[in-house]
Symmetry: C2
Subunit: 672 residues, 2 copies
Amino acid sequence: MANEVLAGMNSAAINPDIAKERLKATFNPQELTYMLDGGKENTDRRKELENLMFSDPAFCLKDSIYLSTSELYVSTMARSVKLYRLKRDQNWSEKDLQLALRIIRDQNCLTLHHSMFVPALERLASEEQKERWLPLARRYQMVGTYAQTELGHGTNLMELETTATYDKATDEFILSTPRLSSIKWWPGSLGKSSNYAIVLAQLVIDTKRHGMHPFMVQLRSMVDHTPMPGVKLGVIGQKMGGNYNDNGFLFLNNVRIPRENMLMKNAQVTRTGKFLTSGPSKANYATMIYVRVMICSWSFGALAAASTAAIRYSSVRRQSTLSPGTEESQILDYQTQQYKLFPALASAYGFFFIHKVLSDKYQAMMVDMQSGNAKALPEMHAWSSGMKALVSDITVYDLEICRRSCGGHGYLRAAGLSDMVCGATPLATVEGDNTVLYLQVARYLLKQIAKALTGQQTTGITQYLSMNEGSYVCPLQRPADCRNVEFLCEIYKKRAYRLVLKVAQALQQDMESGKEQAVYMNKNLQPLVRMATAHCYYVAMRSYVDGLTSVQLSAPARKILDKLCCLFGVHYIVKLSGDFLESEAIGLEQLHWLQDLELQLLSEIRPEAVTLVDAFDFHDETLSSAIGCYDGRAYERLYEAALKEPMNQTEVDPAYDKYLRDLIMEGAKSKL
Amino acid sequence: MANEVLAGMNSAAINPDIAKERLKATFNPQELTYMLDGGKENTDRRKELENLMFSDPAFCLKDSIYLSTSELYVSTMARSVKLYRLKRDQNWSEKDLQLALRIIRDQNCLTLHHSMFVPALERLASEEQKERWLPLARRYQMVGTYAQTELGHGTNLMELETTATYDKATDEFILSTPRLSSIKWWPGSLGKSSNYAIVLAQLVIDTKRHGMHPFMVQLRSMVDHTPMPGVKLGVIGQKMGGNYNDNGFLFLNNVRIPRENMLMKNAQVTRTGKFLTSGPSKANYATMIYVRVMICSWSFGALAAASTAAIRYSSVRRQSTLSPGTEESQILDYQTQQYKLFPALASAYGFFFIHKVLSDKYQAMMVDMQSGNAKALPEMHAWSSGMKALVSDITVYDLEICRRSCGGHGYLRAAGLSDMVCGATPLATVEGDNTVLYLQVARYLLKQIAKALTGQQTTGITQYLSMNEGSYVCPLQRPADCRNVEFLCEIYKKRAYRLVLKVAQALQQDMESGKEQAVYMNKNLQPLVRMATAHCYYVAMRSYVDGLTSVQLSAPARKILDKLCCLFGVHYIVKLSGDFLESEAIGLEQLHWLQDLELQLLSEIRPEAVTLVDAFDFHDETLSSAIGCYDGRAYERLYEAALKEPMNQTEVDPAYDKYLRDLIMEGAKSKL
């Protein structure tokens, strides 16, 4: 019978429950796919690359769960090298490369070369240096990384401890790791892959410190990849996720490099040891902002993947029943399951639009900056910091909810969700820990509210800080008003205004009472985070609405996306209702309407849910989820995945011969 | 210089920042350690076992991060076998064994044998069967597991699909897996370790079904451990955590077992195929409750460990500064860091007391049940379900907050926190998914409120459902009242009452309006979860206060624990303020007092924080956290841990020879 049961496994049938789901949608998923890809031609190109890449087993991802960390690194290197050969041989554009990286979920161990090393050269090297190094880097003779963070310092870059001391006698810099806490620690591709690094170090000339500057340091021989003299490096060890990358450490024991290896675009050291600087470059800020914008996009991708897997699985999993005596219900039919999954789905679409708005703003700023106008920088810095923090916070939280909504199976690596959780959770930490970012937003808001309180009109996204609060009337006058997303924006605005005002007043009071700044700032640090978060929710909701308005859509597609946008807005008012009641943005009556509407929206989204995640159009291999594949054959794929497990290749595990047999045999003997 | 820098690493010095922290406490941590262990003699015994076990490398845990899953299983088997030999040779009590398991954080692959197989035999087997099997099990000749969950069914046990069909002709049962979804899936120790399983299966006699019953099935030969005929089994594959255990699958292809292998205490099948039953046993419920009580204890352990690691690390990590121009600040000094960590610390202590109260109640119920009085069962079922759900929810959430509070290093497996997160997150899923458990609590509450609304006085923990809501006056009349934990309990009670009442009324209305039950129940499923959660917060706060009151403590120890208890109460009112405002348990003025008090409590707990986690008294090896050791030498240990990484045992990784070299050499050639 085993064979009969298992024979059905290889059929190409689609699970009938998920097939039925696809008949329920009121819109065409392809329309949304094109929108998400940025047009039909991009979708076509993506599918072309998917076909090309996934016909080669080196690009397949889902079997990587069977590898040890060392094996995973080797197989990732195979994939990375193939990828860059493809790029070279097929003359891919940068956009193609980005697409290809998305297709393999960035499971590449030479990422830093492209994302940091080459861009840093372009930004920080002099023309002469670019001429010297860029060609080597572009043909992978130099494989590089960017070494900034140290064991003892991440957030506070000014206190990095690695030194680059100028030796006039030899016209060299001496790179040195003075203390254990100064070891470079974390850079991707550093441990095993790179032969060069741009190292951030304190410039020292005649014992005088001149701040952090970038230096080109050779790490490994270009002939046999052995470490250079004085260079001690390796991997920092296993991580919660992302073990395909050799994040590394670097210990520099008086490593000498020629003076010309300081990247000299923004600052120079002359032969006589004179330090010249053109001041800090605004381009550095722009790069920082760019990465934060990208994190919103990665968050979108992660949440889209997790909601795809969880919603598809919830449509094929049946458990218990809503009506006693009938067939077991699809778990997606339970309101509690919808309550877990649909806000995550609404956020996934939301983050697409939030990223779109942010990215458009960034592009506009870059155009301005090239013509010397950096006026948009402060707002853009606060905006991108805030969206990075809020979007990644929600993503990390919702990913785990999606994973847990799949019950025990969500805990299996083959189901894919646990790797999504473990892989995405650093988004809340990297490129500015979220708490630190909220505090940066808070600083910007304090400046703006100070303006507003002295009668100046604030502009841009903080225009609302000049509001006349006395004239606020809750825009929700009857239940139907709750579906109006513009009204919801007003409510988010009111909440943010009140919280910002409250903290600003508290700080003012503390200052006037003569308290030390360090004391009163720290006393208000958590309230500052809270007010910044409130502002970020407003920006997120505003961007969701604006982004959605800006795209061309058919009526049915717009109708369902409007519902998701509304759910996003309503969900966080209800979830954080204390803030909204406290700031008198809504009253109890409005809260009850919103609570009812949230549940109502869940049932309206229910029939469209599977098609909404289909529209994300993940290739099964990219998704790498046994329970989330397009065909809905969750059990078949889980079982197949288990059979591939290395431990299942032998009937009796070596642990038996080594240890267990003796325990059992002693038991048998003691009987005799 | 490298050598000089690294030479200091092996010193036995204690980090000076953490040493200073220990001078600040107002209480003696040993007093709390004794309380947590249940008395000095238990602490002494624990230290004795720790010394005994950790002098043997087989019991050491922290190096397990370097092993592949297959290697991890083998090393865990070595540890498990040693453990059971020690137990046997040293004649350990059951309490000793439990202690030893706690010391090795349950990293044992024969757990199910002890926690399920033997207890199930004791509970479900007839006297004759016990005589036959228990001696074999106790001397590990039989190594067993308990196979219940299937690929397609977890929560809804009634629909498990495995069948046990009685064959009158041969006086045997035929065990069978009719469909792919019926494969037994998840049982611990099943894949590779066990040679026997108690299998839950649908009893079928003459095509008639008689429900789920337990059957003893031999899985593997007692001579060479090869699978028995018709038995196909293996591991289910890698999990997000807990990979030391061989959770397995089991496919039964018409496996025949003698009729006597049905566990016959509660039901019997006679030779002629007659089915006799003494009805479902209440003992089964008791076991279920017992495991839920235990989960509260495990949650306490997990949160205690995570807060130990995060708080110790936060005392030695310095980053940025609160007062410009001064030394960098310990990150524990930032209010935002305290806001992340101290509620987790308060919960850890709280869960100790919540478990204590629950466990005492359970013991009392068991005494009653032995004298035939099962009156306490329904309340105890709801209580344990609710505490399991709430306590594990908070634990899983706070563990990740603790991990993230350690920044990038929290993502390293050597730091220990990521394994804690990944290892503990199933607590929210196993033994009843939390959503399902909240709904069970809700069911109980609906029964009780129905009583109350018809004028009957409710008793026990739901006594408050008979409250006269009209007479409620918020007990917080001035800011100082907020420190009164009895007042906080009143507020939690009021919130729960209002939410329960609201849902009960909504259901009543829906019912009276003639809606179908399936429709109106599902329409209110999320509100039911919400009201149950509110009740659980009340029970948690009540138990925290009662548990803390019940222990003997010196004045300084009581003072600091009172503050933690107060912080717990205040934190969740502030965090969930919407609920409390909505239910009119507090007003805006009270909310502001509570918000201020929460921040005030953080600063009061700050100087005691390190000593409070020292009191948990984790052995460094049990904690397995490079950043959380007693000596505070976080950077030294992270670096040491990295050096042990297998990939760091060679200077040039095999990935270079296999793939990277060619890419680099092609680049070099293209230059020529």
